[in-house]
């Protein structure tokens, strides 16, 4: 079976497999990060928020864009991670990396607990269940008996975060936080890329395309989806953890529907199923919402709503899709996705 003189093998067959190639595009986010650091030194907090959102969006992209899991409650994991990191810093140690690991573990564990039950359902039932779980978590966090742990409506605050590597303190200008987020973003991105390019990545895409067929190929679909969900949950939780550590504040809004809705909008805006969409969408959304929310939060909501409606009709592949179509027209050779 190997090394035969088949005329077309294996180059064209190999090319028939899409992959997320490492190219100059992948360096852009960090180039941008460096540029922003020097060009807009007063906006580091916003930049950090963008990067946290990118991580969150990457997490959802894996679950939804690649796996087809329509989760409207991903804030549950973000919130779990945020609270886990906050509680860790408050009660155990203020060392940040361990806090991040704890956050990731908490998110992964949460996904592992609800995943096997939720992922047996599909369609609107699944959407509704993800919503219900997130709402449930928010209600629990707000409950009186939970107050000592989560701080209830006041949230968690007043905890310190120790310097990174013992040297780089989290300063008020947010420089350490900025590079911290950038570093984690790099790790998360490369992990996502590896997963997407792996055989498991192909399996996941197969599940998204046709679950019944996957079962008839002998693949235990629910178990694979749970694996994906755990990874996605852990990543989202890490995003929440960074948020908790950098802002030194965790509130109920980390679990709110708006959090889930926002990250979904980011992905629609940027484009699902390409990883790059997470970068584009999160950046555009966070920057715009920061500017707009200052002016008028309700008008911002209005604009987001309109964008969603129009995007579904006119740009279902988001900004990435628009860019790819434009690149096609101009005649640039496309990276296979």
């Amino acid at each position: 079976m190997k090394a035969e003189a088949l005329p077309l093998r294996p180059a064209s067959v190999q090319d028939a497999f899409s992959r997320h190639r490492l190219s100059w595009i992948d360096a852009l986010p960090w180039v941008a990060a460096v540029l922003v650091y020097f060009a807009f030194p007063t906006y580091l907090a916003l930049g950090t928020l963008v990067m946290i959102s990118i991580i969150f969006a990457l997490a959802l992209d894996l679950a939804l864009g690649y796996g087809g899991v329509a989760s409207l409650g991903h804030a549950a994991f973000f919130g779990i991670g945020a609270y886990a990191a906050g509680i860790w810093a408050l009660h155990v140690t203020s060392e940040p990396f361990s806090g991040l690991v704890v956050a990731g573990l908490a998110g992964g564990l949460g996904a592992l607990m609800v995943g096997p039950l939720l992922l047996k359902t599909r369609g609107l039932t699944l959407v509704m269940l993800t919503l219900a779980v997130a709402t449930l978590l928010q209600a629990i966090a707000n409950a009186d008996w939970c107050k000592p742990v989560t701080g209830g409506a006041d949230g968690l605050f007043g905890y310190q975060i120790a310097p990174l590597f013992g040297r780089f303190a989290f300063d008020l200008e947010g420089q350490t936080g900025y590079w911290y987020a950038a570093g984690v973003m790099a790790v998360v991105f490369f992990v996502s890329k590896a997963i997407v390019n792996s055989p498991f990545g192909l399996t996941i895409r197969g599940i998204r395309e046709n679950q019944v067929r996957m079962r008839m190929l002998g693949v235990p679909v629910v178990r694979r989806l749970v694996m994906l969900y755990v990874v996605s949950g852990a990543m989202a939780a890490i995003a929440g953890g960074i948020s908790a550590q950098v802002t030194r504040l965790v509130g109920l809004d980390s679990l709110a529907f708006m959090q889930s809705g926002n990250v979904l909008v980011m992905l629609i805006l940027g484009g699902m199923g390409s990883l790059y969409g997470a970068f584009l969408g999160a950046t555009v959304f966070v920057v715009l919402s920061d500017r707009a929310a200052e002016i008028d939060p309700f008008n911002w909501l209005f604009a987001v709503g309109i964008v969603l409606i129009l995007a579904v009709r006119f740009a279902p592949q988001g900004l990435v899709g628009l860019i790819e179509t434009a690149a096609d027209r101009v005649g640039w050779r496309r990276d296979s996705r």
Binding site: M1, K2, E4, L6, L8, R9, P10, S12, V13, Q14, D15, A16, F17, S18, R19, A194, I195, N197, S198, P199, F200, G201, L202, T203, R205, G206, E209, N210, V212, R213, M214, R215, M216, L217, G218, V219, P220, V221, R223, R224, M227
Partner: protein, 257 residues
Amino acid sequence: MAQGQPMSPPALEIEGLTKNFGALRVTRQVSLTLEDGARHALIGPNGAGKTTLVNLITGLLAPTGGRIRLSGTDVTDLDPEQRVALGLARTFQITSLFPALTVAENVALALCSRFGLDRRFWGRMRAQVEVIDGAASLLDSLGLLALAPRRIADLPYGQRRLVEIALVLALEPKMLLLDEPAAGLASADRHAVLDLLLRLPEQLTMLIIEHDMSLVFRIAKRITVLVEGSVLVEGAPAEIRANQDVRDVYLGTRHHA
């Protein structure tokens, strides 16, 4: 099953299989035995419950009663995935593939599953030489190699049908269920499918549901006629062709169609 003969258990054995949807009895006490290498066809008028029977055998539906055995193993309570692992494969009446993926990726999914690679999240897919070589040679042997980089969504229906057969063959199944493989195909494509089916390995057991009688009589060595959920008659093609009850059923339904 004759006693005292040292033969291997039948590839497929269905005993008294029943399926009710509430008061609706779709499958009634169906029994069927297929030996290794059988070429068996299941025919019957629309609504006879043929696809339901296939869904029961593959495990997508749970039976109300009866038992199913694959090569001697009782699979009645097993999930579809587990039955596939035991060597069962099927094609669907409406081609069931992965539209946004390429032909090569489709076949690769079957191979990954077979090699147990489907959960490997390290290593690049493009570096899985066994899978890629396997996909290449399978597609080549079926004359579909040129289609490898094309997306399923971009292929005409006839070619998709062939890809689906390639997909199930990639599993190297012992027992193959084909649900109307020629449905919706133009005659040229129909010949291509027939050719392919005739060239399949002899030890592969096949159960085909079909309406296209010419295909049925070319491939099948035994035929079961299913009417309103129960077996009307079973026998060799010549017997079935001559059977008066069968003719009545078909003539009868043709009147009411």
